[in-house]
Assembly symmetry: C2
Homo-oligomer: 198 residues x 2
């Protein structure tokens, strides 16, 4: 294969590791980048350089942002609602933000309990959640509607039992087996409105 030198070959191999891109689509993407060097390749290269330096994980909630605490944790208005939404992943946080769920705060677990995969309570950002939960009047558990997600929700409910904090979960508008990031904004919004107490 003489796909134009090691620099191009390496770029293809790295792009092929992105979700949604395989070796073939990575090649097309690289050719597209080379064709649009000024309009796309240079800006993308600069944007990646900036992001590498700027992006960090929020020390409070686990969100990704360019500041820590992140812009959501730093926003005082978001604390006033007293609502803390617990999500598995940053993608789920973004999905809820796109759904426009209002002035709330988030806590990103960084995964779900999954004994088969060797993921226990210590592998998740659970102590951080327990530590900050007392500052909120309601904890909304917005895990995916999978077995692992619901197991994690039960575990958190048990941990918070006796603290007097109201613990709720998303309404069963979420299709069973589905993942938050793939839902349309309307469904997510409805599921949050119809949340029920555990």
């Amino acid at each position: 294969m003489a796909n134009g030198g090691p620099e191009i070959e390496q770029l293809i191999q790295l792009l092929a590791r992105l979700p949604g891109l395989g070796p073939r689509s990575a090649r097309r993407a690289v050719l597209h980048l080379i064709k649009k060097k000024e309009q796309l390749m240079l800006p993308l290269s600069a944007a990646l350089d900036r992001a590498v330096v700027a992006v960090k994980s929020c020390e409070v909630c686990g969100n990704v942002d360019t500041i820590s605490p992140c812009s959501i944790c730093s926003d005082a208005r978001r604390g006033e609602s007293g609502i803390l939404i617990v999500v598995e992943d940053v993608a789920d946080l973004w999905a809820l933000e796109r759904a426009g769920v209002g002035q709330v705060r988030y806590h990103v677990l960084g995964g779900v309990l999954s004994p088969l995969d060797g993921v226990g309570p210590d592998d998740l950002n659970l102590d951080g959640l327990i530590g900050r939960a007392h500052g909120y009047s309601e904890i909304v558990l917005a895990m995916n509607a999978t077995v692992e997600g619901q197991t994690t929700a039960h575990y958190i409910t048990d941990r918070l039992a006796g603290t007097g904090i109201k613990v709720t979960r998303l309404a069963h508008g979420v299709p069973v087996g589905g993942e938050l990031d793939y839902l349309d904004e309307g469904t997510l919004s409805q599921a949050l409105k119809a949340r029920t107490e555990i």
Copy 2:
């Protein structure tokens, strides 16, 4: 939308412009990059920086490479066969190389004649082809099997008429309406073997 600062938002918007990625898959790709910062984001950033500097268009054939003339044009063994394959695009050149068509040289037109889109002979690398054709014993026209591709093949055949150079086209193993880059290697190999004289 508080997708974590302008640096992240800009990265998503740029990645969404790659073929095969939309806004949603670009978001997933960026989150994946941030999660795999050391293993993927840093190497990709560095690879892009290097490619931006290194990648150039071959002054002879139009291929993309890090040297000009490109590694194919610089390879003396590839000149010995006397075969020059004319393709629309660099993606087609790469597809033929993957099919292992042997020690041949290429000429990338950079598109096809398409009066409806305002693409005439002056917009393609046609003069370059006519200028170097005399150094080869056979010109293989490997355009896509589309109306525009075949029109371009006819135009090149007319321009080369009277030069005594043998002009061939790919065999009709290529599905009508299909594009080279999507074909499997076996079909491409067969199509080249069964090429017929125009």
